[in-house]
Subunit: 332 residues, 2 copies
């Protein structure tokens, strides 16, 4: 029994079409096992002792004389801060220099850690680093959007094993980001409330896709999940920007982020994944119609011609099913 | 030297950031070789003799007593024609039954053919089958969008080796399709012309990204290519729908499609790819602001957290460079 479902916020549609006779627990086998990694790798530019292989840190956290987290400019960045943000025509087309800021958050000194296997304190440090760097680059008046994300494993687009996240700040807010904002305004003007607040409240109400609820956060597989085990973390308090997250918010986010990634790690066998923090464009931090959140996408399926052409994603695992399995995973 | 570029039609942005010291010709090595395949595979549901493994054909082309092309309903379809197209609420969310039509175009009787290695006549047959089936399913008054696409190889989302394309017809035209249409209307109202007509004319004008120009078609790597070797085929005549392609158009499209896929096959070593025919929603076939076209996406790069989060794609091969290489590939 397949079904179209609409994302309440973006108005995009997905098709939920569970494959007959296939159990989500089989996915772990299909994904395959990750090779064990050493805690130190001589040729890794992010391992201690190889600091000369990266530009000087813009943020460093230390413990007992050694660094435990470093943020460095991305040496292989597609964008550079030393360029103009001015757009210029190329015939009838529009272009701009590759101005922007790209940083790497080296999350841990140990080569073989990942968030699921870190301590809560270590995860808290990472989130503090995200907020601090987002705050810092947001001060650049030519920057309009900051995207913070984590690519874990080759299917998620990274060849670097050492645990790291990235920040890319751009002068441009593209339609892909603007369109959902426009939908959020239409919703706000019709209903007088933030569509993202209403969305997570409806998920809490329907309950079956909720995995974790804490005082400040709700973690769920959304009604209109685009791919198997897509998971979102929403703050319950209305906040348009991740910059509005307080220290207490971050402390609690570290716990739920660690929990959900450990559940995914355990159930699916350390799959490759992307996560992204979606946060308002610079200057819209206090708007009433936007809401920051985290989206976690295990890399299990491949977007093919139909998805690229129509934008309608076919998801072979019902989010109710995925959430049920993740709820049941016992951790620590 | 990296650069932002805007897609003139959709207004989406990409970053063109060629990797230093890396030549596009190295890509073929990274992609790896495809295993040679037999011309017949006993367990393949699409090979001659196994017709019982598919539902009865809705279209069949024959030669000398054997079929040379078959179109069959997709046995593993995510959508079914025997459902209601009515949307219904699920609490505050919106849902619809999985109504739709999904067909497989079995392009050839030989297991190991692909478009690059077929004859022009064989490619012509495929395009005729596309148009005929698109025309037929468009008559269903609950169908609003027909997407025809080809997934070639596992990285493009197919595990089936036998040469095939797919058609999926949906009752829904999602925002992903609507948004570019809205941009096209704005452009039409401002300029009095179809943005896609103006786009290909500007590409012809700038010349450096054009790979093939024939009397009726232009083949180019677009100014704002999202990924390496992204290639498009536009009809020069203003036509909103692929259904408006005449027999003569199709005969010439078969030639240029075969040429460009053979060039890609030769230069990149038979890479996995998706291609898609983008065509107007049903009922908008005669509109003055839309334009059908084909998009070919070799699967070389992986969309990661930044692309998913921002919608801005980082492309490591400049389209001028890609087009130059493909122009230079000698074929037949």
């Amino acid at each position: 029994m397949s079904e179209f479902r609409q994302n309440m916020a973006t108005k995009e549609w997905v098709i939920i079409a569970p494959e007959r006779g296939k159990r989500p627990s089989d996915l772990a086998k299909e994904i395959g096992k990750r090779q064990p990694m050493p805690s130190f790798s001589e040729n890794c530019p992010f391992c201690p002792g190889n600091e000369k292989d990266t530009p000087p840190a813009v943020l460093q956290m230390s413990h007992a004389g050694s660094w435990k987290l470093r943020v460095v400019p991305n040496r292989f960045a597609a964008l550079s801060p030393n360029k103009s943000a001015i757009r210029h025509p190329v015939g009838a087309f529009l272009s701009a220099d590759g101005f922007g800021i790209a940083e790497v958050i080296i999350e841990n000194s140990l080569h073989n850690k990942t968030i699921a296997t870190m301590s809560i304190d270590e995860v808290t440090d990472i989130l503090h680093a995200y907020r601090e760097r987002q705050s810092e680059v947001s001060k650049n008046e030519n920057i309009n959007l900051v995207t913070i994300f984590r690519n874990h494993g080759p299917r998620a687009g990274t060849s670097l094993e050492h645990p790291h996240s990235q920040l890319i700040a751009t002068p441009i807010v593209p339609p892909h980001v603007r369109y959902p904002l426009e939908q959020a305004v239409l919703y706000y003007d019709k209903h007088g409330s933030c569509v993202y607040c209403d969305l997570y409240k409806e998920e809490l109400n329907q309950k079956e896709r909720v995995i974790i609820e804490s005082p400040r956060f709700v973690v769920f597989c959304p009604f209109a999940s685009r791919s198997p085990f897509e998971t979102r973390i929403y703050p319950k308090k209305h906040q348009a920007s991740f910059l509005s997250a307080s220290d207490d918010d971050i402390a609690e986010l570290a716990v739920v982020l660690h929990q959900i990634l450990l559940k995914i790690y355990t159930f699916l066998g350390d799959p490759d994944y992307n996560y992204i923090i979606r946060s308002s464009p610079i200057g819209d931090e206090d708007t009433r119609h936007l809401h920051w959140y985290m989206i976690i996408i295990p890399k299990i399926s491949t977007a093919a011609g139909f998805e690229i052409g129509s934008g309608i994603y076919i998801n072979t695992v019902a989010p109710e099913e995925a959430a049920k399995h993740l709820r049941e995973v016992a951790i620590g």
